[in-house]
């Protein structure tokens, strides 16, 4: 079974600074998809960024980028120019290509942004 580990239960960053959230995973599949979701206090799950394992290029969405290291099974999220609205819980998620129904989420990292 796949596992997703987020080793940082809590992180904090100063407004306008950069922060990196860590995620490691374990899988025997060669093709899969990785996601970062944001969950603000409203509880709504919001997709932040997506990475296909077959793509070597790291995904980027505006101030959000990932460092995808397939051999190391690592998928970290970098948030640049942090804003107060970035404060939320962030979840790393895995979806295999052979069975896209069985998704696995990490336990989350709570990000605090200090003004």
């Amino acid at each position: 079974a796949q596992t997703v580990t987020q080793s940082q239960p809590e992180m904090s960053v100063q407004e306008a600074e950069t922060v990196t959230l860590s995620c490691t995973y374990d899988t025997s599949e060669s093709d899969y998809y990785l996601f970062w979701y944001k969950q603000p206090p409203s509880r709504q799950m919001i997709l932040v960024i997506r990475q296909e394992a077959y793509k070597q290029q790291n995904a980027t969405e505006n101030r959000f980028s990932v460092n995808f290291q397939k051999a190391a099974k690592s998928f970290s999220l970098k948030i640049s120019d942090s804003q107060l609205g970035d404060a939320a819980m962030y979840f790393c998620a895995y979806l295999g290509d052979t069975n896209a129904g069985k998704s696995t989420f990490g336990d989350g990292t709570t990000l605090t942004v200090k003004p």
Partner: protein, 114 residues
């Protein structure tokens, strides 16, 4: 499009009662999912469906049942509610073609069993 809708938003059950959490999506997605999220934790997959008439167990299926008679609807049934089922329940959907796209989530149902 309304996206993924869930009803009810909140519910309090007594131990041993049963209920159905409703989930509907209007995006013609083939995949649908049910998760539970305990306080301070990540999402655990309860059941999922790859299309109408096809369902399968996730990580934590015990105490729950699902059905998928239409593309749009994916209700989750709790039989004999127990305090351990107190949680927030999320329904999600996605459309898979050549590769799974991201999941779209409903707003969640907060369930308390006392």
């Amino acid at each position: 499009n309304a996206g993924v809708t869930q009803t009810p938003k909140f519910r309090i059950l007594k131990i041993g009662q049963s209920m159905t959490l409703q989930c509907t999506q209007d995006m013609n997605h083939n995949y649908m999912y049910w998760y539970r999220q305990d306080p301070g934790m990540g999402l655990k997959l309860i059941y999922y469906s790859v299309g109408a008439g096809i369902t399968d167990k996730g990580e934590v299926p015990n105490g729950y049942n699902v059905s998928r008679s239409t593309t749009e609807d994916f209700p989750l049934r709790l039989e004999l509610a127990a305090p351990s089922q107190t949680s927030v329940y999320f329904c999600a959907s996605s459309y898979r073609t050549s590769g799974p796209l991201e999941q779209y989530f409903g707003p969640g149902t907060r369930l308390t069993v006392t």
